[in-house]
Point group: C2
Chain length 305, copies 2
Protein backbone atom coordinates (compact mmCIF):
# COMPACT_ATOMS: atom_id res chain seq x y z
CA UNK A 1 0.00 0.00 0.00
CA UNK A 2 2.85 2.37 -0.75
CA UNK A 3 0.54 4.65 -2.71
CA UNK A 4 -1.93 5.07 0.14
CA UNK A 5 -2.22 8.83 0.72
CA UNK A 6 -3.98 8.31 4.06
CA UNK A 7 -1.67 6.02 6.01
CA UNK A 8 -2.56 5.75 9.69
CA UNK A 9 -1.85 3.55 12.70
CA UNK A 10 1.39 2.36 11.13
CA UNK A 11 3.94 3.98 13.38
CA UNK A 12 4.52 5.69 16.67
CA UNK A 13 4.97 9.00 14.85
CA UNK A 14 2.22 11.58 14.60
CA UNK A 15 1.49 13.14 11.24
CA UNK A 16 -1.07 15.45 9.72
CA UNK A 17 -1.51 15.59 5.96
CA UNK A 18 -3.41 17.78 3.56
CA UNK A 19 -6.56 16.23 2.11
CA UNK A 20 -5.97 14.78 -1.39
CA UNK A 21 -9.62 14.64 -2.52
CA UNK A 22 -12.37 17.11 -3.41
CA UNK A 23 -15.03 17.89 -0.80
CA UNK A 24 -17.85 18.63 -3.25
CA UNK A 25 -17.74 16.45 -6.36
CA UNK A 26 -20.38 18.26 -8.47
CA UNK A 27 -20.61 21.75 -9.91
CA UNK A 28 -23.48 23.77 -8.54
CA UNK A 29 -26.33 24.85 -10.81
CA UNK A 30 -29.86 26.16 -10.34
CA UNK A 31 -31.11 22.59 -10.44
CA UNK A 32 -28.86 21.33 -7.64
CA UNK A 33 -30.65 20.01 -4.51
CA UNK A 34 -28.82 22.53 -2.31
CA UNK A 35 -28.43 26.30 -2.55
CA UNK A 36 -25.05 27.71 -3.57
CA UNK A 37 -24.69 29.10 -0.06
CA UNK A 38 -25.31 25.66 1.43
CA UNK A 39 -22.75 24.04 -0.87
CA UNK A 40 -20.18 26.73 -0.08
CA UNK A 41 -20.76 26.31 3.64
CA UNK A 42 -20.42 22.51 3.44
CA UNK A 43 -17.25 22.79 1.39
CA UNK A 44 -15.71 25.24 3.88
CA UNK A 45 -16.87 23.76 7.20
CA UNK A 46 -17.25 20.05 6.44
CA UNK A 47 -20.81 19.96 7.76
CA UNK A 48 -24.22 21.42 7.00
CA UNK A 49 -27.42 21.68 9.01
CA UNK A 50 -30.77 21.49 7.21
CA UNK A 51 -33.76 22.40 9.35
CA UNK A 52 -37.38 21.61 8.61
CA UNK A 53 -36.61 18.97 5.97
CA UNK A 54 -39.20 16.55 7.30
CA UNK A 55 -42.72 17.59 8.25
CA UNK A 56 -44.01 17.21 11.82
CA UNK A 57 -46.16 14.28 10.64
CA UNK A 58 -43.15 12.56 9.13
CA UNK A 59 -41.11 13.13 12.29
CA UNK A 60 -43.95 11.72 14.40
CA UNK A 61 -44.11 8.65 12.17
CA UNK A 62 -40.37 8.03 12.44
CA UNK A 63 -40.46 8.44 16.21
CA UNK A 64 -43.37 6.06 16.58
CA UNK A 65 -41.50 3.44 14.61
CA UNK A 66 -38.29 4.05 16.59
CA UNK A 67 -40.17 3.77 19.90
CA UNK A 68 -41.75 0.50 18.75
CA UNK A 69 -38.31 -0.94 17.97
CA UNK A 70 -36.79 0.42 21.19
CA UNK A 71 -39.43 -1.31 23.29
CA UNK A 72 -37.83 -4.57 22.16
CA UNK A 73 -38.45 -6.06 18.79
CA UNK A 74 -38.10 -9.71 17.84
CA UNK A 75 -37.70 -8.68 14.21
CA UNK A 76 -34.19 -7.28 14.72
CA UNK A 77 -31.15 -9.49 14.20
CA UNK A 78 -29.47 -9.88 17.59
CA UNK A 79 -25.97 -9.05 16.35
CA UNK A 80 -27.14 -5.68 15.02
CA UNK A 81 -28.21 -4.31 18.39
CA UNK A 82 -25.81 -2.57 20.76
CA UNK A 83 -26.76 -2.07 24.37
CA UNK A 84 -25.74 0.70 26.76
CA UNK A 85 -22.90 -0.37 29.11
CA UNK A 86 -24.44 -0.65 32.55
CA UNK A 87 -28.15 -0.32 31.96
CA UNK A 88 -28.42 -2.78 29.06
CA UNK A 89 -30.83 -0.46 27.22
CA UNK A 90 -30.77 -0.57 23.39
CA UNK A 91 -28.43 2.16 22.23
CA UNK A 92 -28.01 1.44 18.54
CA UNK A 93 -29.43 -0.81 15.86
CA UNK A 94 -27.08 -1.35 12.93
CA UNK A 95 -28.15 -2.02 9.36
CA UNK A 96 -31.55 -0.57 10.22
CA UNK A 97 -32.27 0.25 6.56
CA UNK A 98 -32.14 -3.46 5.70
CA UNK A 99 -34.30 -4.55 8.59
CA UNK A 100 -37.14 -2.06 8.65
CA UNK A 101 -39.28 -0.72 5.83
CA UNK A 102 -39.76 2.73 7.37
CA UNK A 103 -36.02 3.35 7.61
CA UNK A 104 -35.44 1.73 4.21
CA UNK A 105 -37.79 4.34 2.79
CA UNK A 106 -36.04 7.10 4.75
CA UNK A 107 -32.56 6.45 3.37
CA UNK A 108 -33.92 6.38 -0.18
CA UNK A 109 -35.81 9.63 0.31
CA UNK A 110 -34.80 12.09 -2.39
CA UNK A 111 -34.37 14.85 0.20
CA UNK A 112 -31.41 12.85 1.51
CA UNK A 113 -30.20 10.65 -1.34
CA UNK A 114 -30.29 13.36 -4.04
CA UNK A 115 -28.16 15.58 -1.81
CA UNK A 116 -25.69 12.73 -1.25
CA UNK A 117 -25.53 12.07 -5.01
CA UNK A 118 -24.85 15.73 -5.66
CA UNK A 119 -22.14 16.18 -3.04
CA UNK A 120 -20.40 12.90 -3.95
CA UNK A 121 -20.91 13.33 -7.71
CA UNK A 122 -21.90 9.72 -8.18
CA UNK A 123 -24.55 7.12 -7.53
CA UNK A 124 -24.53 6.23 -3.86
CA UNK A 125 -25.10 3.29 -1.56
CA UNK A 126 -25.30 2.88 2.21
CA UNK A 127 -21.95 2.03 3.78
CA UNK A 128 -23.42 1.93 7.29
CA UNK A 129 -26.80 2.69 8.82
CA UNK A 130 -27.82 2.99 12.44
CA UNK A 131 -30.79 3.85 14.51
CA UNK A 132 -29.34 5.56 17.60
CA UNK A 133 -31.55 5.53 20.66
CA UNK A 134 -29.32 7.04 23.29
CA UNK A 135 -31.23 7.49 26.51
CA UNK A 136 -30.77 10.30 28.96
CA UNK A 137 -29.00 10.25 32.37
CA UNK A 138 -26.15 7.98 31.32
CA UNK A 139 -25.31 8.86 27.71
CA UNK A 140 -21.57 8.41 27.40
CA UNK A 141 -19.24 10.76 25.61
CA UNK A 142 -17.61 9.90 22.30
CA UNK A 143 -14.09 11.19 21.80
CA UNK A 144 -12.93 13.14 18.74
CA UNK A 145 -12.47 11.10 15.60
CA UNK A 146 -12.56 11.23 11.83
CA UNK A 147 -14.88 8.53 10.52
CA UNK A 148 -12.79 8.26 7.37
CA UNK A 149 -9.70 7.37 9.36
CA UNK A 150 -11.52 4.30 10.69
CA UNK A 151 -13.29 3.47 7.44
CA UNK A 152 -10.03 3.69 5.55
CA UNK A 153 -7.87 1.71 7.96
CA UNK A 154 -10.38 -0.83 9.24
CA UNK A 155 -12.78 -1.13 6.30
CA UNK A 156 -10.65 -0.36 3.25
CA UNK A 157 -12.55 2.69 1.99
CA UNK A 158 -10.12 4.08 -0.61
CA UNK A 159 -10.79 7.82 -0.74
CA UNK A 160 -12.67 10.65 0.94
CA UNK A 161 -15.87 10.38 -1.07
CA UNK A 162 -18.47 9.57 1.55
CA UNK A 163 -20.63 11.51 3.99
CA UNK A 164 -22.96 10.95 6.91
CA UNK A 165 -26.48 12.21 7.49
CA UNK A 166 -28.05 12.31 10.91
CA UNK A 167 -31.82 12.69 10.95
CA UNK A 168 -32.68 14.02 14.41
CA UNK A 169 -35.61 12.23 16.01
CA UNK A 170 -35.36 14.19 19.25
CA UNK A 171 -34.37 17.80 19.80
CA UNK A 172 -30.64 18.52 20.00
CA UNK A 173 -29.90 21.21 22.57
CA UNK A 174 -26.62 22.29 24.18
CA UNK A 175 -27.77 20.28 27.22
CA UNK A 176 -28.04 16.76 25.88
CA UNK A 177 -24.58 16.22 24.46
CA UNK A 178 -25.12 16.74 20.72
CA UNK A 179 -22.38 15.98 18.21
CA UNK A 180 -19.74 18.72 17.96
CA UNK A 181 -17.75 19.40 14.79
CA UNK A 182 -14.44 21.12 14.20
CA UNK A 183 -15.11 23.37 11.18
CA UNK A 184 -12.53 22.95 8.42
CA UNK A 185 -11.00 19.82 9.95
CA UNK A 186 -12.11 17.76 6.94
CA UNK A 187 -9.30 19.37 4.92
CA UNK A 188 -6.61 17.88 7.13
CA UNK A 189 -5.98 14.20 7.66
CA UNK A 190 -4.73 13.36 11.14
CA UNK A 191 -3.06 9.99 11.18
CA UNK A 192 -3.21 8.11 14.44
CA UNK A 193 -0.50 6.37 16.38
CA UNK A 194 -0.26 2.62 16.90
CA UNK A 195 -1.63 -0.47 15.22
CA UNK A 196 -5.19 -1.75 15.14
CA UNK A 197 -5.80 -5.09 16.84
CA UNK A 198 -8.07 -7.62 15.16
CA UNK A 199 -11.69 -7.47 16.28
CA UNK A 200 -11.09 -3.92 17.47
CA UNK A 201 -14.61 -2.97 16.38
CA UNK A 202 -16.13 -4.97 19.22
CA UNK A 203 -14.73 -2.48 21.71
CA UNK A 204 -14.69 0.61 19.55
CA UNK A 205 -18.45 0.69 19.13
CA UNK A 206 -18.73 1.27 22.83
CA UNK A 207 -15.57 3.21 23.56
CA UNK A 208 -13.02 4.39 21.04
CA UNK A 209 -9.46 3.50 22.08
CA UNK A 210 -7.48 3.18 18.85
CA UNK A 211 -7.61 5.58 15.97
CA UNK A 212 -7.53 8.45 18.46
CA UNK A 213 -6.08 11.77 17.28
CA UNK A 214 -3.54 13.46 19.53
CA UNK A 215 -4.33 16.50 21.66
CA UNK A 216 -1.89 18.81 19.94
CA UNK A 217 -3.41 18.17 16.50
CA UNK A 218 -6.91 18.63 17.93
CA UNK A 219 -5.98 21.91 19.60
CA UNK A 220 -4.52 23.15 16.35
CA UNK A 221 -7.60 22.12 14.34
CA UNK A 222 -9.93 23.72 16.89
CA UNK A 223 -8.05 27.00 17.27
CA UNK A 224 -10.83 28.89 15.45
CA UNK A 225 -13.64 27.23 17.35
CA UNK A 226 -15.90 24.23 17.59
CA UNK A 227 -19.48 24.02 16.33
CA UNK A 228 -22.36 22.36 18.14
CA UNK A 229 -25.37 22.29 15.81
CA UNK A 230 -28.71 22.21 17.58
CA UNK A 231 -32.22 21.90 16.21
CA UNK A 232 -35.62 20.34 16.61
CA UNK A 233 -36.53 16.79 15.63
CA UNK A 234 -36.65 16.58 11.84
CA UNK A 235 -33.40 18.50 11.40
CA UNK A 236 -30.82 16.82 9.15
CA UNK A 237 -27.11 17.21 9.96
CA UNK A 238 -24.80 16.31 7.08
CA UNK A 239 -21.09 15.88 7.64
CA UNK A 240 -18.15 14.97 5.50
CA UNK A 241 -16.39 11.65 6.16
CA UNK A 242 -13.19 13.29 7.38
CA UNK A 243 -14.71 15.99 9.61
CA UNK A 244 -13.41 15.69 13.17
CA UNK A 245 -16.34 15.20 15.52
CA UNK A 246 -17.26 13.90 18.95
CA UNK A 247 -19.74 14.45 21.76
CA UNK A 248 -19.78 15.15 25.46
CA UNK A 249 -21.77 12.91 27.75
CA UNK A 250 -25.44 13.47 28.53
CA UNK A 251 -26.59 13.36 32.16
CA UNK A 252 -29.86 15.16 31.42
CA UNK A 253 -33.15 13.24 31.30
CA UNK A 254 -33.42 14.18 27.62
CA UNK A 255 -32.73 11.31 25.18
CA UNK A 256 -30.91 11.70 21.88
CA UNK A 257 -32.41 9.67 19.07
CA UNK A 258 -31.43 9.83 15.44
CA UNK A 259 -31.30 7.87 12.24
CA UNK A 260 -27.70 7.80 11.06
CA UNK A 261 -26.80 6.96 7.47
CA UNK A 262 -23.44 6.86 5.71
CA UNK A 263 -23.63 7.39 1.97
CA UNK A 264 -20.66 6.28 -0.09
CA UNK A 265 -20.00 6.85 -3.80
CA UNK A 266 -20.35 3.61 -5.78
CA UNK A 267 -16.92 4.38 -7.30
CA UNK A 268 -15.48 4.34 -3.77
CA UNK A 269 -16.51 0.85 -2.72
CA UNK A 270 -14.47 -0.98 -0.11
CA UNK A 271 -11.25 -2.83 -0.88
CA UNK A 272 -9.13 -4.86 1.52
CA UNK A 273 -8.60 -2.90 4.76
CA UNK A 274 -5.47 -0.76 4.88
CA UNK A 275 -4.90 -1.73 8.49
CA UNK A 276 -5.82 -5.11 10.04
CA UNK A 277 -6.15 -8.13 7.77
CA UNK A 278 -9.64 -9.02 8.90
CA UNK A 279 -12.33 -6.59 7.71
CA UNK A 280 -15.18 -5.56 9.99
CA UNK A 281 -18.50 -7.34 9.51
CA UNK A 282 -21.10 -6.33 6.91
CA UNK A 283 -23.45 -4.88 9.50
CA UNK A 284 -20.89 -2.17 10.23
CA UNK A 285 -19.32 -1.74 6.79
CA UNK A 286 -21.23 -2.94 3.74
CA UNK A 287 -18.87 -4.85 1.47
CA UNK A 288 -20.78 -7.43 -0.57
CA UNK A 289 -24.34 -6.45 0.29
CA UNK A 290 -24.25 -3.20 -1.63
CA UNK A 291 -27.24 -1.78 -3.49
CA UNK A 292 -27.23 1.49 -5.42
CA UNK A 293 -29.93 3.76 -4.02
CA UNK A 294 -32.80 4.77 -6.27
CA UNK A 295 -34.11 8.09 -4.92
CA UNK A 296 -37.79 8.17 -4.01
CA UNK A 297 -39.74 11.45 -4.06
CA UNK A 298 -42.82 12.36 -2.06
CA UNK A 299 -43.77 12.13 1.62
CA UNK A 300 -42.37 9.31 3.79
CA UNK A 301 -45.77 8.00 4.78
CA UNK A 302 -48.90 7.51 2.72
CA UNK A 303 -51.78 9.58 4.04
CA UNK A 304 -54.44 7.43 5.72
CA UNK A 305 -57.54 6.91 3.52
Amino acid sequence: MTNDPYVSRRSAKLATMVRQDPVVYSTWSERSPLTLEQVTSYERDGFLVLKGIFSPDEVAGLRTEAARLEAGSQELEAETTITEPGSGAIRSVFRIHKQNSVFARLVADARLSKVAEFLLGDDVYIHQSRLNLKQGFHGEDFYWHSDFETWHVEDGMPRMRALSMSVLLTENTPLNGPTMFIPGSHKIYVSCVGETPDDHYKQSLKKQEYGVPDEESLSQLAKDGIAMPTGPAGTVVIFECNTMHGSNSNITPYPRWNGFFVFNAVSNKLRAPFGPAKPRPEIIAARSAVETIVPVAGPLFQAAA
Copy 2:
Protein backbone atom coordinates in the same frame (compact mmCIF):
# COMPACT_ATOMS: atom_id res chain seq x y z
CA MET B 1 -32.16 11.94 64.94
CA THR B 2 -35.91 11.51 64.93
CA ASN B 3 -36.38 15.24 64.40
CA ASP B 4 -34.17 15.37 61.29
CA PRO B 5 -36.36 16.88 58.54
CA TYR B 6 -33.89 15.82 55.85
CA VAL B 7 -33.37 12.09 56.39
CA SER B 8 -31.53 10.39 53.55
CA ARG B 9 -29.69 7.14 52.81
CA ARG B 10 -31.53 5.40 55.61
CA SER B 11 -33.77 3.05 53.66
CA ALA B 12 -34.39 1.46 50.30
CA LYS B 13 -37.43 3.68 49.86
CA LEU B 14 -37.35 6.82 47.72
CA ALA B 15 -38.83 9.99 49.11
CA THR B 16 -39.06 13.63 48.15
CA MET B 17 -39.91 16.22 50.79
CA VAL B 18 -40.76 19.88 50.75
CA ARG B 19 -37.96 22.18 51.89
CA GLN B 20 -38.38 23.26 55.54
CA ASP B 21 -36.09 26.32 55.44
CA PRO B 22 -36.12 29.78 53.88
CA VAL B 23 -34.09 30.35 50.70
CA VAL B 24 -33.35 34.03 51.32
CA TYR B 25 -32.83 34.86 55.01
CA SER B 26 -32.83 38.68 54.76
CA THR B 27 -35.43 41.22 53.70
CA TRP B 28 -34.43 43.21 50.65
CA SER B 29 -33.83 46.96 50.93
CA GLU B 30 -32.18 49.62 48.81
CA ARG B 31 -28.94 48.97 50.65
CA SER B 32 -28.84 45.23 49.93
CA PRO B 33 -25.86 44.00 47.85
CA LEU B 34 -28.20 42.55 45.19
CA THR B 35 -31.08 44.09 43.27
CA LEU B 36 -34.63 43.04 44.13
CA GLU B 37 -34.84 41.31 40.77
CA GLN B 38 -31.67 39.33 41.51
CA VAL B 39 -32.96 38.27 44.92
CA THR B 40 -36.31 37.25 43.45
CA SER B 41 -34.59 35.24 40.74
CA TYR B 42 -32.32 33.47 43.25
CA GLU B 43 -35.27 32.70 45.52
CA ARG B 44 -37.28 31.23 42.63
CA ASP B 45 -34.55 29.38 40.67
CA GLY B 46 -32.00 28.47 43.34
CA PHE B 47 -29.13 30.03 41.41
CA LEU B 48 -28.01 33.43 40.16
CA VAL B 49 -25.43 34.49 37.59
CA LEU B 50 -23.50 37.74 38.13
CA LYS B 51 -21.47 38.87 35.14
CA GLY B 52 -18.67 41.41 35.17
CA ILE B 53 -18.15 41.33 38.95
CA PHE B 54 -14.39 41.22 38.66
CA SER B 55 -12.40 43.47 36.35
CA PRO B 56 -10.27 42.05 33.53
CA ASP B 57 -7.16 42.92 35.57
CA GLU B 58 -8.49 41.04 38.57
CA VAL B 59 -9.37 38.04 36.42
CA ALA B 60 -5.89 38.07 34.88
CA GLY B 61 -4.33 38.18 38.35
CA LEU B 62 -6.41 35.23 39.56
CA ARG B 63 -5.57 33.21 36.45
CA THR B 64 -1.89 33.91 36.78
CA GLU B 65 -1.94 32.68 40.36
CA ALA B 66 -3.99 29.59 39.39
CA ALA B 67 -1.57 28.77 36.57
CA ARG B 68 1.36 29.10 38.93
CA LEU B 69 -0.23 26.62 41.33
CA GLU B 70 -1.29 24.27 38.53
CA ALA B 71 2.29 24.02 37.28
CA GLY B 72 3.04 22.19 40.52
CA SER B 73 3.54 23.96 43.77
CA GLN B 74 5.48 22.71 46.75
CA GLU B 75 3.53 25.07 48.98
CA LEU B 76 0.30 23.03 48.73
CA GLU B 77 -0.44 20.32 51.28
CA ALA B 78 -0.37 17.00 49.43
CA GLU B 79 -3.66 15.73 50.85
CA THR B 80 -5.50 18.79 49.51
CA THR B 81 -4.75 18.11 45.85
CA ILE B 82 -6.90 15.84 43.69
CA THR B 83 -5.56 14.55 40.39
CA GLU B 84 -7.44 13.64 37.22
CA PRO B 85 -7.96 9.85 36.86
CA GLY B 86 -5.71 8.74 34.02
CA SER B 87 -3.55 11.75 33.28
CA GLY B 88 -2.59 12.57 36.86
CA ALA B 89 -3.01 16.31 36.20
CA ILE B 90 -4.09 18.50 39.14
CA ARG B 91 -7.85 18.80 39.02
CA SER B 92 -8.70 20.38 42.34
CA VAL B 93 -6.99 21.96 45.32
CA PHE B 94 -9.07 21.88 48.49
CA ARG B 95 -8.88 24.45 51.28
CA ILE B 96 -7.28 26.84 48.84
CA HIS B 97 -8.38 29.87 50.89
CA LYS B 98 -6.21 28.67 53.78
CA GLN B 99 -3.17 27.93 51.65
CA ASN B 100 -2.91 30.89 49.34
CA SER B 101 -3.12 34.61 50.07
CA VAL B 102 -4.70 35.52 46.70
CA PHE B 103 -7.59 33.13 47.19
CA ALA B 104 -7.85 34.05 50.89
CA ARG B 105 -8.41 37.62 49.73
CA LEU B 106 -10.90 36.48 47.09
CA VAL B 107 -13.25 34.67 49.50
CA ALA B 108 -13.25 37.68 51.83
CA ASP B 109 -14.01 40.08 49.00
CA ALA B 110 -17.11 42.10 49.84
CA ARG B 111 -18.54 41.46 46.36
CA LEU B 112 -18.84 37.80 47.41
CA SER B 113 -18.99 37.74 51.19
CA LYS B 114 -21.52 40.57 51.57
CA VAL B 115 -23.84 38.78 49.15
CA ALA B 116 -23.45 35.55 51.15
CA GLU B 117 -24.19 37.39 54.41
CA PHE B 118 -27.29 38.93 52.89
CA LEU B 119 -28.71 35.73 51.41
CA LEU B 120 -27.95 33.67 54.53
CA GLY B 121 -28.95 36.43 56.98
CA ASP B 122 -25.97 35.82 59.23
CA ASP B 123 -22.24 36.08 59.55
CA VAL B 124 -20.63 33.49 57.31
CA TYR B 125 -17.61 31.20 57.16
CA ILE B 126 -16.13 28.92 54.51
CA HIS B 127 -17.41 25.36 54.78
CA GLN B 128 -15.35 24.22 51.80
CA SER B 129 -13.12 25.92 49.25
CA ARG B 130 -11.62 24.56 46.07
CA LEU B 131 -9.57 25.70 43.17
CA ASN B 132 -10.86 23.63 40.23
CA LEU B 133 -8.45 23.29 37.31
CA LYS B 134 -10.28 20.87 35.06
CA GLN B 135 -8.38 20.44 31.83
CA GLY B 136 -9.91 19.87 28.43
CA PHE B 137 -10.12 16.63 26.41
CA HIS B 138 -10.86 14.34 29.35
CA GLY B 139 -13.01 16.33 31.78
CA GLU B 140 -15.35 13.79 33.33
CA ASP B 141 -19.03 14.31 33.91
CA PHE B 142 -20.50 14.82 37.38
CA TYR B 143 -23.90 13.32 37.98
CA TRP B 144 -26.87 15.21 39.43
CA HIS B 145 -26.69 15.89 43.13
CA SER B 146 -27.76 18.26 45.87
CA ASP B 147 -24.73 19.42 47.82
CA PHE B 148 -26.86 19.78 50.92
CA GLU B 149 -27.82 16.11 50.83
CA THR B 150 -24.14 15.21 51.14
CA TRP B 151 -23.26 17.98 53.59
CA HIS B 152 -26.18 17.01 55.80
CA VAL B 153 -25.65 13.24 55.77
CA GLU B 154 -21.87 13.08 55.64
CA ASP B 155 -20.85 16.32 57.35
CA GLY B 156 -23.69 17.03 59.78
CA MET B 157 -24.79 20.39 58.37
CA PRO B 158 -28.11 20.90 60.16
CA ARG B 159 -30.22 23.08 57.87
CA MET B 160 -30.34 24.57 54.38
CA ARG B 161 -28.54 27.81 55.17
CA ALA B 162 -25.49 27.64 52.94
CA LEU B 163 -24.63 28.48 49.34
CA SER B 164 -21.84 28.06 46.81
CA MET B 165 -20.12 30.62 44.66
CA SER B 166 -18.16 29.70 41.58
CA VAL B 167 -15.82 32.38 40.27
CA LEU B 168 -15.15 31.48 36.64
CA LEU B 169 -11.48 31.71 35.69
CA THR B 170 -12.08 30.46 32.14
CA GLU B 171 -15.05 31.05 29.86
CA ASN B 172 -18.01 28.73 30.31
CA THR B 173 -19.62 27.87 26.98
CA PRO B 174 -22.13 25.16 26.04
CA LEU B 175 -19.14 23.24 24.64
CA ASN B 176 -16.96 22.70 27.69
CA GLY B 177 -19.36 20.98 30.04
CA PRO B 178 -20.39 23.80 32.38
CA THR B 179 -22.47 23.14 35.49
CA MET B 180 -26.18 22.69 34.78
CA PHE B 181 -28.88 23.55 37.32
CA ILE B 182 -32.48 22.42 37.66
CA PRO B 183 -34.37 25.66 38.40
CA GLY B 184 -36.64 25.37 41.43
CA SER B 185 -35.14 22.07 42.57
CA HIS B 186 -33.85 23.71 45.76
CA LYS B 187 -37.42 23.75 47.11
CA ILE B 188 -37.64 19.95 47.09
CA TYR B 189 -35.45 17.60 49.07
CA VAL B 190 -34.78 14.31 47.30
CA SER B 191 -33.63 11.69 49.76
CA CYS B 192 -31.35 9.03 48.38
CA VAL B 193 -31.49 5.27 48.73
CA GLY B 194 -28.97 3.16 50.62
CA GLU B 195 -26.42 3.75 53.35
CA THR B 196 -23.14 5.65 53.18
CA PRO B 197 -20.00 3.60 53.70
CA ASP B 198 -17.22 5.03 55.87
CA ASP B 199 -14.54 6.90 53.93
CA HIS B 200 -16.98 7.31 51.06
CA TYR B 201 -15.54 10.73 50.33
CA LYS B 202 -12.35 9.19 48.97
CA GLN B 203 -14.28 7.83 46.02
CA SER B 204 -16.98 10.44 45.77
CA LEU B 205 -14.59 13.26 44.97
CA LYS B 206 -13.74 11.49 41.76
CA LYS B 207 -16.99 9.76 40.96
CA GLN B 208 -20.24 10.08 42.88
CA GLU B 209 -21.79 6.69 43.62
CA TYR B 210 -23.83 7.13 46.80
CA GLY B 211 -26.19 9.97 47.51
CA VAL B 212 -27.49 9.69 43.95
CA PRO B 213 -31.04 10.87 43.25
CA ASP B 214 -33.32 8.54 41.26
CA GLU B 215 -34.19 9.15 37.62
CA GLU B 216 -37.90 9.54 38.24
CA SER B 217 -37.40 12.34 40.77
CA LEU B 218 -34.91 14.03 38.45
CA SER B 219 -37.29 13.85 35.49
CA GLN B 220 -40.04 15.34 37.60
CA LEU B 221 -37.80 18.17 38.88
CA ALA B 222 -36.57 18.90 35.34
CA LYS B 223 -39.95 18.86 33.64
CA ASP B 224 -39.84 22.63 33.10
CA GLY B 225 -36.26 22.66 31.88
CA ILE B 226 -32.62 22.74 32.85
CA ALA B 227 -30.38 25.82 32.92
CA MET B 228 -26.78 25.95 31.74
CA PRO B 229 -25.33 29.33 32.69
CA THR B 230 -22.50 30.47 30.48
CA GLY B 231 -20.27 33.51 30.71
CA PRO B 232 -16.77 34.89 30.40
CA ALA B 233 -14.04 34.54 33.00
CA GLY B 234 -14.89 36.79 35.93
CA THR B 235 -18.53 35.70 36.03
CA VAL B 236 -19.79 34.58 39.44
CA VAL B 237 -22.37 31.77 39.63
CA ILE B 238 -24.14 31.53 42.98
CA PHE B 239 -26.24 28.51 43.85
CA GLU B 240 -28.25 27.44 46.84
CA CYS B 241 -27.00 24.40 48.81
CA ASN B 242 -29.97 22.23 47.81
CA THR B 243 -30.13 23.10 44.08
CA MET B 244 -29.81 19.97 41.97
CA HIS B 245 -26.83 20.33 39.65
CA GLY B 246 -24.36 18.34 37.59
CA SER B 247 -22.25 18.58 34.47
CA ASN B 248 -21.65 16.69 31.26
CA SER B 249 -18.14 15.68 30.32
CA ASN B 250 -15.78 17.92 28.38
CA ILE B 251 -13.91 16.46 25.38
CA THR B 252 -13.09 19.92 23.96
CA PRO B 253 -9.58 21.37 24.27
CA TYR B 254 -11.06 24.16 26.41
CA PRO B 255 -10.27 23.89 30.15
CA ARG B 256 -12.70 24.81 32.89
CA TRP B 257 -11.11 26.61 35.81
CA ASN B 258 -12.90 28.18 38.71
CA GLY B 259 -12.58 29.15 42.33
CA PHE B 260 -15.33 27.39 44.26
CA PHE B 261 -16.37 28.58 47.71
CA VAL B 262 -19.09 27.32 50.04
CA PHE B 263 -20.37 29.91 52.49
CA ASN B 264 -22.25 28.66 55.52
CA ALA B 265 -24.11 30.69 58.16
CA VAL B 266 -22.26 30.67 61.47
CA SER B 267 -25.54 29.61 63.10
CA ASN B 268 -25.52 26.52 60.89
CA LYS B 269 -22.15 25.06 61.90
CA LEU B 270 -21.61 21.34 61.61
CA ARG B 271 -22.77 18.81 64.19
CA ALA B 272 -22.19 15.06 64.19
CA PRO B 273 -22.96 13.62 60.73
CA PHE B 274 -26.52 12.38 60.23
CA GLY B 275 -25.23 9.40 58.25
CA PRO B 276 -21.89 7.67 58.86
CA ALA B 277 -20.27 7.90 62.29
CA LYS B 278 -16.97 9.21 60.99
CA PRO B 279 -17.08 12.79 59.69
CA ARG B 280 -15.18 13.79 56.55
CA PRO B 281 -11.85 15.54 57.06
CA GLU B 282 -11.48 19.27 57.67
CA ILE B 283 -10.12 19.95 54.21
CA ILE B 284 -13.51 18.99 52.75
CA ALA B 285 -15.82 20.15 55.52
CA ALA B 286 -14.56 22.73 58.00
CA ARG B 287 -15.53 21.65 61.52
CA SER B 288 -13.06 23.02 64.04
CA ALA B 289 -11.04 25.36 61.84
CA VAL B 290 -13.84 27.85 61.36
CA GLU B 291 -13.28 31.60 61.05
CA THR B 292 -16.00 34.16 60.57
CA ILE B 293 -15.30 36.13 57.41
CA VAL B 294 -14.64 39.85 57.69
CA PRO B 295 -15.62 41.38 54.32
CA VAL B 296 -12.89 43.35 52.56
CA ALA B 297 -13.77 46.13 50.10
CA GLY B 298 -11.70 47.38 47.16
CA PRO B 299 -9.85 45.74 44.29
CA LEU B 300 -8.32 42.27 44.74
CA PHE B 301 -4.84 43.42 43.85
CA GLN B 302 -2.95 46.55 44.81
CA ALA B 303 -1.98 48.57 41.78
CA ALA B 304 1.73 48.38 41.02
CA ALA B 305 3.63 51.50 42.11
